[in-house]
């Protein structure tokens, strides 16, 4: 589903996709032109490191809340969850909930202390009390691994999405799409820095919410705002009857798939507050109070969005023929654009064409904004954690640091284009689940121990980061995500022994355990003065930048 099947499915054209191409491209072109103008404007105000990494810390809580939502709601959420509900009913809805509940971890434990005690990256907080170089190296490595996996999944997803919606199926066409997405994200980030990227996220969030509101309203209108009737019609039309509204159609097939879903659920809830591209957003506001407000806005916006996907998904199930949804895309990823077309008057009508084009353009905008955020997170961490604080030992000037950040954006972006083009026919979308698992296993334990556990040491931090990172990557490498199943990345190879696609149920407890074990086995004791400073700064905001 969603993340997975976005790439898993064989591209089958949305009915009549080709004829809507000019309209879709025009709308998408408008989005690109508008965001590029804003990027250039933002770039002219980007002078020092705080501008590039943190948008000058000038955004309000509401603006940042919108931008967080824009960073978080990927095409997988929008098209994937709507499609999963359209085909599997309740289980698609069940999947969306972990993504929302997760924000409470960020709100209650992470956002404010992080804002108060760091400057630009997650590594700032992890390395606060520790030996700088080893911990920053570890934090930078895990940031880049998480972001690159996430980025690859999104880039490959972009290729699949475009082929679905525009009817581009040639190899060259897919590579061109991946390259276009990559070049645009490099431009946004190198020129606009965090300020430009934040505006792109905000615009995208507004468009996505507006598109979802419109479709939701039209769906509910069809059923006189009677949700029970909508559900009944969806269940009846799905051919599954009452089972469509009950758990089990997707995750309940056998004991393994149930355990896999539990593992995924844990990774989603604990991973969000460890995703580097989300964490750096908390530095774009002036105070911890504003960081709290931004998470509250994000919870409201993301929650409202997932509630609307229920109407979108069940609406698609009720109004479209199941066979049509599957014929367009096996995983249901085109259910949202198709239901938009239906609500506009059906295939062939002008209203249908316009609504289909609007929703497709919103989906492209969604991908662009998410990849820009991911690129910024990895280049910030590379420049600030690895280049300045490890390679240059903190001795670089601010000008050199910003230049390093811009160059690493170009390099990381180029690498993402190259890998994305190579992976265009592989099912790499499972890497998103891996990104959440790494974030929950490697990043979250270290963040929480650093902030709240007096005795935590450098060795604990290193064991936890590397242990969580290596265990999740290795388990995924030997899982059905990579080999052994028709849906695998390499479907012809078979070297899997770990039965679950989501490693979280093993790697997250391991990350926490290793952090504790490394600490109690340390010869060096934690520095109480450093903890005093971190604790006072993180709770009061004293001396916050």
């Amino acid at each position: 589903m969603s993340t997975h099947d976005l790439a898993a499915a064989t591209p089958v054209l949305a009915s009549g996709a080709g004829e809507h191409r000019p309209l879709i491209i025009t709308l998408f072109g408008l989005f690109v032109v508008a965001t590029l103008i804003i990027t250039v404007w933002a770039g002219r105000q980007t002078r020092d490191a705080a501008d590039f990494y943190a948008g000058g810390r000038q955004f309000t809580g509401f603006q940042n809340g919108l931008a967080i939502s824009g960073d978080y709601m990927s095409a997988a959420s929008f098209l994937g969850i709507a499609g999963a509900i359209a085909l599997f009913g309740y289980d698609g809805f069940l999947y969306s909930i972990g993504f929302l509940v997760a924000w409470l971890v960020a709100l209650l434990l992470v956002a404010e202390p992080l804002r108060n005690s760091g400057r630009y990256t997650m590594g700032d907080v992890l390395a606060f009390r520790m030996r700088q170089r080893p911990v920053r190296t570890a934090a930078g490595t895990s940031t880049i691994v998480v972001s690159i996996f996430y980025l690859l999944a999104q880039m490959a997803g972009a290729g699949v999405l475009v082929s679905l919606l525009l009817g581009i199926t040639s190899d060259g066409g897919k590579i061109a799409v991946v390259a276009l997405v990559g070049v645009l994200m490099i431009v946004y980030v190198t020129i606009g820095g965090m300020k430009g990227t934040t505006w792109v996220q905000m615009i995208k969030a507004v468009l996505l919410i507006a598109g979802a509101l419109l479709i939701t309203f039209l769906v509910l209108l069809k059923f006189d705002f009677n949700v029970s009737e909508l559900l009944g019609k969806a269940a009846e039309n799905s051919g599954q009857g009452a089972a469509f509204l009950e758990p089990g159609l997707k995750y309940g097939q056998d004991a393994t798939s149930k355990l896999d879903f539990l593992s995924l659920g844990i990774a989603l809830v604990l991973g969000t507050a460890g995703l580097p591209h989300i964490l750096i957003r908390f530095y774009t506001v002036p105070t911890a109070k504003a960081a709290r407000k931004s998470v509250n806005w994000a919870i409201g916006i993301i929650g409202a969005f997932y509630l609307m996907t229920i109407a979108l998904g069940f609406g698609a199930a009720a109004l479209l023929e199941r066979t049509d949804i599957i014929a367009s895309n096996k995983a249901g990823n085109t259910a949202a654009p198709l239901v938009a077309q239906e609500l506009g008057g059906g295939a062939g009508s002008t209203g249908g064409a316009v609504l289909l084009a609007v929703i497709s353009a919103v989906a492209f905008a969604t991908i662009l904004a998410v990849v820009a955020g991911l690129t910024l997170a990895s280049s910030s961490s590379f420049a600030h954690d690895l280049y300045v604080n490890v390679i240059r030992k903190g001795q670089a000037t601010e000008k050199e640091e910003v230049r390093a950040a811009r160059w690493s954006t170009v390099v990381i972006g180029a690498a993402a284009i190259f890998l994305g083009a190579l992976a265009r026919d592989l099912n790499v979308a499972g890497l998103v689940a891996l990104a959440f698992a790494v974030a929950a296993s490697a990043n979250l334990p270290t963040i929480l121990y650093s902030l709240f556990w007096k005795r935590f040491t450098t060795r604990g931090a290193l064991w936890s980061i590397y242990g969580g990172l290596v265990s999740s990557v290795v388990l995924v490498l030997f899982s059905p995500v990579v080999s052994g199943k028709p849906s695998s990345m390499f479907k012809d190879a078979d070297f899997y022994w770990f039965p679950l696609e989501n490693p979280g149920i093993v790697s997250i407890p391991l990350g926490f355990l290793l952090g504790w074990l490394g600490t109690v086995l340390s010869k060096e004791k934690a520095d109480p003065a450093k903890f005093a400073e971190l604790e006072v700064r993180s709770l009061t905001g004293t001396g916050a930048h």
Binding site: L108, L109, Q132, G303, K393, E524, V536, R537, T540
Partner: protein, 121 residues
């Protein structure tokens, strides 16, 4: 510690007026700070355990109690849907409760300590 020269905290250049290590330790030991810390922890920690447990309960019920979850309550709305919407409701509720708690109990304490450390001393 180590032989490495320790850079300033967080690798960040702290401003000239920033408090010393002794001042941070003194504040950390102060009753005002203890009150701030306990207002945060006694609220955030139990609530985190509660919402994670409530989410896991929901996932486990969906996984292993399909019959119960499929019980119809009214119209076509069953227990599973109501509990799922309940997750939305509790998430919104906890976010609101925390914002209220922080504004009333945390911000004034934190601001007072910060003001004293940065200006008064």
């Amino acid at each position: 510690m180590t032989t490495e020269a320790a850079p300033p905290p967080g690798g960040a250049g702290t401003s000239a007026a920033s408090p010393t290590a002794e001042e941070f330790e003194a504040v950390q030991r102060s009753p005002e700070f203890a009150a701030l810390r306990s207002s945060h922890r006694s609220f955030a920690f139990p609530l985190t355990v509660a919402f994670v447990a409530w989410y896991l309960l929901y996932v486990l019920l969906s996984n292993y109690a399909g019959g119960f979850m499929g019980t119809r309550l009214f119209g076509n709305v069953n227990v599973a849907l109501v509990l799922g919407l309940g997750q939305f409701a509790t998430t919104f509720l906890i976010a609101w409760l925390y914002a209220r708690h922080a504004a009333a109990k945390l911000d004034p304490k934190a601001d007072a300590i910060k003001a004293r450390m940065e200006n008064g001393r």
